[in-house]
């Protein structure tokens, strides 16, 4: 009960504060739209919001899923082999250090016209790094005794991975996944905004900008925030289910 009530109250207070701030300062729409201006914008474009919201959502999720698969595989490779870790790490760090805003136009040109592919690709590229790093750290810092209790019984490397290394890494993995969700979301929107004739909430934002429809731009921001919150909490629920044991100690 409290878990629902407190966040809802916080949101309501925030909206009231926002409305009040705009009202007191008498800001025009182009400076800052107020929550009461947003409803008409939402309502006018409700179908666009639904279809474009869906576009943004599925691309983000697909990009994220690819990031999970690639990130976990890379993490496993780096976690189990020291040589590969030493070799791959600088490459990954360098790749991650490139601001993705500069990669977006390059990718957009590389696969010109393939809007879905571009967007998913950026969402993936921006979000796999924390996953790979967390999995590799989780695996490489596994205390040798944990391996030894199973190895001494003649267990295979695969058994040790499934029974010990993987579950032990799950809390770190979910921590990284929470970061990755937000990053993937940023990636999707960057591409949607930049691509000509794009779709998705990012494109809607862009069209709000070209038409100087400020309430629409703010409405897009709000719906992005809501999608982001929803995705984040999906991860939180998954974390509770699969790595809930890690929470207990802090209670």
């Amino acid at each position: 009960m409290r878990q629902v009530f407190v966040p809802v109250l916080a949101i309501v207070l925030f909206l009231l504060f926002w409305e009040g701030l705009v009202w007191v300062n008498d800001w025009p729409n182009y400076k800052m739209a107020s929550p009461s201006d947003l409803w008409p914008a939402f309502w006018r474009f409700k179908w666009l919001f639904l279809t474009f919201g869906w576009e943004t959502l599925w691309r983000t999720v697909v990009g994220l899923l690819i990031a999970i698969v690639v990130g976990v595989l890379l993490g496993m490779v780096m976690g189990f082999s020291r040589v590969l870790r030493e070799g791959l790490y600088p490459l990954l760090v360098g790749f991650n250090a490139i601001p993705k805003a500069t990669v977006v136009p390059i990718v957009a040109l590389m696969f010109v016209g393939q809007h879905d592919l571009n967007t998913v690709l950026i969402a993936f590229m921006i979000s796999f790094f924390p996953i790979a790093v967390s999995v590799s750290i989780g695996l490489s810092t596994l205390e040798p005794e944990y391996r030894d209790i199973l190895r001494a019984l003649g267990a295979s490397q695969m058994t040790i991975f499934w029974k010990i290394a993987l579950p032990k890494t799950l809390p770190e993995f979910f921590g990284a996944l929470k970061v990755a969700v937000t990053l993937a979301f940023i990636g999707t929107n960057l591409m949607e905004i930049v691509s000509p004739h794009g779709r998705g909430l990012g494109a809607l934002f862009d069209s709000g900008k070209t038409n100087s429809d400020y309430p629409l731009m703010f409405a897009v921001l709000i719906s992005l925030a809501m999608l982001g919150i929803a995705l984040y909490y999906v991860v939180v629920v998954l974390e509770r289910i699969f790595a809930g044991w890690a929470e207990r100690q802090t209670d």
């Binding site: 205390e143 005794e145 944990y146 030894d148 209790i149 199973l150 190895r151 001494a152 019984l153 003649g154 267990a155 058994t159 029974k163 010990i164 579950p167 032990k168 799950l170 790595a243 044991w245 890690a246 207990r248 100690q249």
Partner: protein, 267 residues
């Protein structure tokens, strides 16, 4: 080689081992020979870092010696075998499993003819034996350090190993808990026959639990001194404070001192 040595359930035969590290090679064991008879219990003491844990890893088959050989039940050890149970100073319980499921872990690896109900019953019996009845469904983090170590002992014994290897299992516990666990060890030994190797830094613990105490020399380690203890099986804590016990302790302490003085410089 004495004929008696052949009957030993655990036998380490002229084992030498050298680790290669970034700063060069580190000879750890030098022509080490020792044996533990069936159902015997040998304590190994020695200076810190002399290679005691390395000995346990060799016996468990987790490590291959550079020279010499290790034998269990008359078979040369070339890879890990499920006849071994191990417990360390760190209880290494898996936080995402209940205590019962932690104890049952080896049964998921070692093939056994037991039904799943029989396995669970076996784990519960062991937990009861070490005084953990009622804690089966708790998570490791909900237990005290001593209780976790008890659970770790149960896990080491659940698949009825012939050989139990204990590497400083009580080293991190307070004195009272430790004495409690010593009694538990004697109880376990009566109920569950095994051949044991105990690594410890506590000489009292060594003479309270073992039939024989082996003092290793400083690195590279070899057997420096062997002390057979007169008594097998359960003993009371009072026996640690008899003149005989004190004398044994003094001898062992003296030997450790010699071992430390003989260590190679720079270690």
């Amino acid at each position: 080689m004495t004929p008696a040595l052949h009957k030993d359930l655990i036998r380490i035969d002229g084992v030498s081992h050298t680790f290669t590290t970034e700063s060069g090679s580190l000879p750890v064991l030098d022509n080490l020979t020792l044996g533990v008879p069936e159902n015997g219990f040998t304590a190994i003491v020695g200076p810190s870092g002399c290679g005691k844990s390395t000995v346990t890893r060799l016996v468990a088959g987790l490590l291959k010696p550079d020279a010499g050989s290790v034998w269990l039940q008359g078979q040369e050890v070339t890879s890990p075998r499920s006849v071994v149970g191990m417990a360390f100073q760190n209880p290494v319980l898996l936080e995402w499993r209940s205590i019962l499921k932690n104890v049952m872990l080896p049964l998921e690896i070692v093939s056994s003819s037991l039904s799943s109900a029989a396995r669970e019953a076996r784990a519960r019996d062991l937990l009861k034996l070490v005084g953990l009845a009622g804690f089966e469904d708790k998570r490791p983090s909900e237990l005290s350090g001593g209780m976790r170590q008890r659970a770790s002992l149960c896990r080491a014994l659940v698949h009825q190993p012939e050989v139990l290897i204990l590497d400083e299992p009580f080293g991190a516990l307070d004195a009272f808990t430790r004495e409690d666990l010593w009694q538990t060890m004697h109880r376990l030994r009566e109920e569950e026959p095994f051949t044991g190797v105990l690594i410890t830094h506590d000489l009292r613990e060594a003479i309270f639990l073992a039939d024989e105490v082996i003092v290793l020399s400083g690195r590279p380690a070899t057997v420096q001194y062997t002390k057979a203890l007169p008594q097998r099986g359960p003993r009371s804590l009072d026996q640690l404070y008899t003149p005989e016990a004190t004398e044994t302790l003094n001898i062992l302490r003296e030997q450790i001192k010699i071992a430390r003085e003989g260590e190679e410089p720079g270690s």
